[in-house]
């Protein structure tokens, strides 16, 4: 593969698509959450690639903020999942259907 912007963007697109696929297909909340992280990392990779090939710093600095927000998101999300597990004794989305019917 040539070392061009398109290569990196292709990897980012594939990572994002795989993350989206996981969010749609999987039933375990933890795995869904991991796939969300994958989508965030894909966006990060696109930002760094654009920043590198445009010769600017803004994308690189934004990755800082994305990393911080992702860390906060993981902490709060996992706390919510643990609280959910305490209440309902499951983390599978097909069993968490109390709003149905």
């Amino acid at each position: 593969m040539p070392d061009t912007l398109n290569t990196y963007l292709g990897v980012a697109v594939l990572l994002f698509a795989l993350g989206l696929l996981g969010v749609v297909v999987r039933r375990n909340t933890l795995v869904i959450f991991m796939c969300l992280e994958l989508m965030l990392v894909a966006a990060t990779l696109a930002l760094v690639a654009f920043s590198r090939f445009n010769g600017t710093m803004d994308g690189n600095v934004f990755v800082f903020f994305i990393l911080t927000v992702a860390a906060a998101e993981v902490a709060v999300g996992l706390a919510i999942i643990v609280a959910l597990f305490r209440q309902r004794l499951t983390v599978r989305v097909d069993q968490l259907d109390s709003l149905k019917n």
């Binding site: 593969m1 070392d3 061009t4 912007l5 290569t7 963007l9 292709g10 990897v11 594939l14 990572l15 994002f16 698509a17 795989l18 989206l20 696929l21 996981g22 297909v25 039933r27 375990n28 933890l30 795995v31 991991m34 796939c35 992280e37 994958l38 990392v41 990060t44 990779l45 760094v48 920043s51 590198r52 090939f53 445009n54 010769g55 710093m57 803004d58 690189n60 600095v61 990755v63 800082f64 903020f65 990393l67 911080t68 992702a70 860390a71 906060a72 998101e73 993981v74 902490a75 996992l78 706390a79 999942i81 643990v82 609280a83 597990f85 305490r86 499951t90 983390v91 599978r92 097909d94």
Partner: protein, 174 residues
């Protein structure tokens, strides 16, 4: 040699990301996520963003995946297989997801040829630590403060969420 390494990193990253989606076992999925993040960090190194590659490994591989593994061990979901959703719903969601991925790949193949200069023609600004510090403490000073505040709020939120309902407010150490 450089092209071979880039191809290796790309295939490794995407393959491990596919492992996250495919693996039945949650622990295996978490380890695939870890490997995929290592691949992304290698791509960051190829893009000469050395600090960001290090931070990605530190924050994601060091903290986030470890936290995921802790929670997986804590919840211990083994042996609780559900009956699964209705057959039509599962097939429909799979078909929709595959269509979405296909649309992304096709649009990238058709319209994805962005004209960019080669990497050698552009200075690698991300390689210098000084520029990060300069940007963070001048242009992006307010976002840095806000992010610090966000982390504080997240910490308080996690403490509030992890308290047992009905437990006394100062039940520690009594």
């Amino acid at each position: 040699m450089h092209h071979f390494l880039l191809t290796l990193f790309c295939v490794f990253t995407v393959g491990c990301a596919a492992g996250v989606v495919v693996c039945r076992n949650t622990v295996n999925a978490a380890l695939c996520l870890l490997l995929s993040l290592v691949g992304v960090a290698a791509l960051f190194l190829r893009l000469e963003a050395y600090l960001l590659a290090f931070l990605l490994l530190l924050v994601y591989a060091g903290a986030v995946v470890a936290l995921f593994l802790f929670i997986i061990m804590l919840l211990d979901e083994r042996g609780k297989q559900s009956s699964g959703p209705p057959r039509g719903l599962a097939l429909g969601s799979r078909a929709l997801a595959v269509l979405l991925v296909g649309a992304g790949v096709v649009s990238f193949a058709v319209k994805g040829r962005l004209a960019a200069p080669s990497a050698a023609a552009v200075p690698a600004l991300g390689a210098s630590l000084k520029l990060y510090a300069y940007e963070l403490f001048t242009t992006y000073l307010l976002p840095v403060q806000l992010i610090g505040f966000l982390l504080l709020i997240a910490m308080l939120g996690v403490i509030a969420l992890s308290r047992r309902p009905g437990a006394p407010h100062s039940g520690y150490g009594t």
